[in-house]
Amino acid sequence: MTHTAFLTPSLAGVMLFFFLPLIMIAYNSTMKSALNNEFVGLKNYTDVLNNKAFLLAGRNTLLFSALAVPLAVILALLLALLLNTNLPGRSWFRSIFLNPMMVPVASIVLIWQVVFSFNGTLNSFLGGFGLDKIDWMKSDWSRLVILLLFLWKNLGYNMVLFLSALNNVPAELLDSAKIDGANSVKRFTHVSLVYLSPTIFFVGIMSLINSFKIFREVYLLTGNYPYDALYLLQHFMNNAFRDLDYQKLSSAAIIMCVVMIIIVGTLFLAESRIGKDVEE
């Protein structure tokens, strides 16, 4: 009884603020329109899945996450390994890498606009070498620009998490491996990496979430309808919300939710297997 009583408030909160809206969204996604509560089954889903803009947005979002998340994990890990050595001024570097986290989004966007706009600093610089201007934000280069922005903003945080995890790798294990003749690569892959797996999983999940949040910067940089390479799922849903198209919005949200559950579930499965190895 006691544990039920303690659980009830949070359970009720979760139900009220998470599951209930989800159910309402699911309900809306099967209705004909906001004014016509006629059940239409999966028609709204098929409409959304056949919508070229949604498919483009989904493709772009997945592509960005597929590129950004591994890079955010790997580069952050490499940086952490680097700063975990006796590198001179490493505490300075840690602070510097954390700085982007403290900069407001509006300032970041402003800096990126100044640098990457058609008449921006970078093009002026390139012009000095006689090179043509590149429309960084309105060409296929825009993916790279946004990827850089994402990494610049997130590497520091991920790096700190990895630094913390590296400190928790048992030194005696590393020492015994060394005595057993394991070189530094083997010590890292067979000992450190195993112990880092929960952190890698956590950083991966966080980076995945943050990769979806990149919409905020993209939106501020390019508006509702950016160059197609930057058109993300949140653009689709944000525009549907702005146009008060609840059926399209609900269907897209449910589809995105299902995809997220699959991705996160897969990651959980992978983590649990690797975690099992650690426990064993």
């Binding site: 009884m1 006691t2 039920t4 009830t8 359970l11 009720a12 139900m15 009220l16 599951f19 209930l20 159910i23 309402m24 309900y27 809306n28 209705m31 329109s33 906001a34 004014l35 016509n36 509560n37 919508n51 070229k52 803009a53 949604f54 483009l56 058609f118 008449n119 201007k133 429309d135 309105k138 509702n224 309808y225 950016p226 160059y227 197609d228 058109y231 689709f236 525009n239 549907a240 146009d243 008060l244 198209d245």
Partner: protein, 844 residues
């Protein structure tokens, strides 16, 4: 037998509680779910509640005008429990030679009935003897003049106009009509009237020396019976350039004069004897004064950065600069015309009269227009007088092409509302509360319908003008208002009828199925003749055979050009346009006064369908046709420097055309006369053509105001009745008399043509035809040939204004790089194609 232990009991209790909690949570979740089925169509219509207030309207006996006379109200003010109305009467020509000398008229009080006094005011000049500035008091009885003691207007001297004070009691009965001509000189003009604490009313009079043009100011005081008390008080101001146009008094008898001085707005405070107490000078002062419960406020504007602020400054003798701490009233009073009263400041807004407490800024409604039946088309722009919470006076005006009339009405709160139980129909739009044509129709409908009552909902009512800095701000606010209407329809509280100006986007409502096909009403209503309306307009407003909106009138936008130069055509391609340009002499401009973006926007508005197929989702901006438009805009448009005063550099197209230096005149055809002007201007037959486009689109037809009926309205038949009334011949005729635009009803359209062909510039109800007003010469009737060409133009209209703001905003964001040479047309068109394609795909 086993006995249950304490733990077992708890476990058992827990087993019982768990399902209870689960069910509770499920119920808690299910309750808000009911919200999913709420909203949408209203279950039942709203009706006027039993406790709704109602104000009866009584039109008051005003000053009756003679032939060639007109009057307007200079000032209205409460005077004890009476209303004092100062009016100026003049001839329509501007000069009314009322009195050969300053001796003159002084008219009536209650002994002389209004009918007698006003039946022939031309003859109301009399043998009254007091000259202007006569000292001593003049008894009201002395100034009563019989209508028989009068001269004809032709016999009268050089008196230019006269001022009369009308007094009304709380029942609305005129108790006195005091002619001030007796005491005023020929060059005197009354600028303000105020009531003192002891119930007298004082009048501020300005005189101009006809030789030196020097102004002098005098103050005349009258008691409530109309008797002048004491000598006129000559006022002396230290600033000789100070022209007071506002005055008020406080309890101590001090007199406050507001106006403009040499360098700034000024307030001058004098004592009873006319001695200057102090002067207030401040560059931000406007010169308006407000007497709120004895505290005098002066208003002023200031600019802080990009923010415009509106302040009220209490006049305070104790302060160093005589101004107290300013009260920022920007958010509540900016853009309004506030007036003072005992509850603070009042504002006459589109939805009613409201009072604002200056201490708390609390807003209270004094009267909502929906609670009365007054023709807001007549009484819309007046400053009311709130005599009490139950008695309100309003002034109004009616205008036609040849006449105007001033009216006065009293609204009195009733114990019972005669409209209780009537179904409420909401007509909603943006900035519609000031549409006098619509308000007059609402008045007519409400006073004749036994079942329904229209309420006007203006979504711009609480528009905060202070937050608007740029055009984009206005567009965003406009879009937000549109969404608010949409959201309220979704929530089941939306309007029954949407009434939108030409730039209102009905497409959002239409695409969501929120509009009813008007053809369904037209087809089943035997009293409505669809054939009575111009077929081309009906067709233009159709969407896939359905009519979701219909205008009351429209205008046409395009270019006018001589047929000998541009040919007999209504549309052309860019190549054809360029061919025409190439045929022009080198010193002749093809078009003028279009910036590059404006020309491109106009071209796209006419031919958007050529670049975006909403059905298939195909976008065609990355095409030679669009690049031709880009080139056209770049070549023939002027550089847009982003300055809002860009238009100041516009050239005079009329003169250029007359001198043969301009081939195409940008034209806005709003009636036959404006069409005929083009032929007169060019001196030969003209073609009205659209903007160059691949589809050879004709000139653009733009609805002035359009109606749509909500598919969610529970009172669709009632809504249709109102719309039908608005489209009736009677309403179209009214619009013809007072409005602007081309009527949609064929018979009224023909009537408009007939008036242009048979102009009656003097009288008879027809409009004055200013055919040649820009180019000199006399007025000439429209010829039959020109009328037929005009008919042909209307019947051939094939392009409805289609302004897709989202697409246009993308285009306008990208094209400057081409116009200023940073990118090629191919790069820009490809980029526009890329972005617009995403947008269009999203809409599929």
């Amino acid at each position: 037998m086993m006995h249950l232990g304490t733990d077992d009991k708890i476990t058992r209790k827990g087993r019982l509680l768990r399902p209870v909690i689960s069910i509770g949570i499920c119920i808690a979740m299910a309750i808000p779910m009911t919200g999913c089925t709420l909203g949408g169509k209203k279950a039942a219509s709203d009706t006027v509640p039993a406790d709704a207030p109602y104000y009866a309207v009584k039109e008051l006996d005003f000053y009756t005008l003679a032939k060639d006379e007109s009057a307007y109200i200079v000032s209205m003010t409460p005077c004890g429990d009476q209303l004092a109305v100062l009016i100026q009467v003049s001839s329509n020509g501007g000069i009314v030679p009322y009195a050969a000398t300053s001796e003159s008229i002084s008219v009536s009080n209650s002994d002389l009935t209004a009918e007698t006094a006003a039946s022939d005011p031309v003859d109301t000049t009399g043998d009254t003897t007091a000259a202007a500035g006569d000292s001593g008091s003049t008894d009201a009885a002395d100034i009563i003049t019989s209508a028989t003691d009068t001269k004809s207007i032709a016999d009268l001297g050089d008196y230019s106009m006269k001022y009369i004070v009308l007094l009304y009691d709380i029942t609305g009965t005129k108790t006195a009509e005091i002619d001030l001509s007796k005491v005023l000189g020929a060059n005197d003009s009354v600028t303000s009237m105020s009531v003192t604490a002891d119930g007298n009313f004082v009048i501020l009079v300005q005189s101009f020396d006809s030789v030196t043009y020097a102004a002098s100011n005098k103050l005349y005081t009258f008691d409530s019976s109309g008797k002048m008390t004491g000598d006129p008080l000559t006022l002396h101001f230290s600033d000789s350039n100070f022209y007071p146009y506002q005055m008020t008094t406080d309890a101590s008898g001090s007199m406050y004069f507001g106006g403009y001085g040499t360098d700034s707005g000024m307030v001058v405070v004098l004592d009873k004897q006319g001695n200057t107490q102090y002067e207030v000078k401040n560059s931000s002062l406007n010169g308006n004064l407000f007497n709120v419960n004895g505290v005098i406020y002066a208003d002023g504007y200031s600019t802080e950065g990009t923010d415009n602020k509106y302040f009220l400054y209490p006049i305070d003798a104790a302060k160093e600069n005589h101004l107290g701490d300013p009260i920022d009233v920007s958010k509540v009073l900016m853009g309004s015309a506030p007036f003072a009263g005992k509850d603070g400041l009042y504002v006459n807004s589109g939805s009613g009269i409201y009072s604002y407490d200056l201490n708390t800024m609390e807003k209270k409604s004094v009267l909502l227009w929906k609670d009365t039946d007054i023709d807001k088309g007549v009484y819309s722009y007046s400053t009311p007088v709130i005599l009490s919470s139950d008695v309100i006076f309003l002034q109004g005006s009616t205008y036609s092409a040849t006449t105007s009339e001033t009216k006065l009405a009293m609204l009195t709160r009733q114990k019972e509302n005669p409209n209780v139980g009537k179904k409420i129909l909401k007509v909603a739009g943006i900035n519609i509360s000031w549409d006098t044509t619509m308000q007059s129709e609402v008045y007519k409908f409400n006073t004749t319908s036994e079942d329904y009552r229209i309420e006007v909902v203006d979504y711009a009512e609480d528009f905060d003008y202070t937050s608007m800095k740029t055009v984009e701000d206005y567009l965003t606010a406009y879009s937000d208002m549109n969404k608010k209407i949409y959201m309220e329809i979704l929530a089941g509280n939306g309007p029954d009828i949407i009434y939108g100006s030409g730039d209102m986007s009905f497409s959002m409502y239409q695409s969501k199925g929120l509009l009813t096909d008007l053809y369904t009403f037209m087809d089943k209503d035997t009293s409505f003749k669809k054939d009575a309306y111009i077929p081309s307009i009906l067709k233009l407003c159709e969407t896939d055979g359905h009519l979701y909106k219909f205008p009351t009138s429209f205008t046409i936008q395009g270019f006018a050009g001589a047929k000998s130069v541009i040919g007999d055509r209504t549309g052309w391609t860019v190549d054809e346009f360029n061919a025409m340009v190439n045929s022009l002499p080198s010193d002749v401009m093809p078009i003028a006064n279009y910036t590059q973006p404006a020309l491109l926007t106009a071209s796209l508005n006419a031919s958007m369908a050529a670049f975006v197929d909403v059905t298939t989702g195909k976008v065609n901006f990355d095409s030679e046709e669009f690049r031709q438009l880009l080139d056209l805009a770049k070549t023939y448009g002027t550089v847009d420097n982003g300055d809002i005063n860009n238009g100041d550099n516009n050239v005079d197209e009329w003169t250029l055309v007359q001198n043969g230096k301009l081939a195409l005149m940008s034209s806005m055809i709003s009636d036959p006369t404006s069409y005929d002007q083009m032929a007169t201007l060019f001196g030969e037959d003209v073609s009205i053509v659209g903007f160059p486009s691949s589809t050879k689109a004709g000139p653009i037809c733009s609805a002035n105001f359009s109606f749509a009926i909500s598919s969610q309205s529970p009172n669709q038949d009632g809504a249709w009745n109102f719309v039908k009334d608005f489209l009736s011949e009677d309403s179209q005729n009214k619009m013809l008399d007072s409005g602007w635009g081309i009527p949609v009803m064929t018979s009224v359209f023909e009537k408009q043509i007939d008036r242009a062909m048979n102009p009656d510039v003097n009288n008879g109800g027809g409009p004055i035809v200013y055919k040649d007003m820009y180019i000199g010469g006399g007025s000439e009737p429209m010829s039959e040939a020109s009328a037929q060409a005009y008919r042909d133009l209307i019947n051939s209209l094939d392009t409805l204004m289609d302004s897709d703001q989202e697409i246009l905003s993308i285009v306008m964001e990208e094209v400057p790089a081409y116009f200023n040479g940073q990118k090629t047309d191919k790069a820009v068109s490809a980029l526009i194609q890329n972005r617009v394609q995403t947008l269009v795909n999203e809409r599929q």
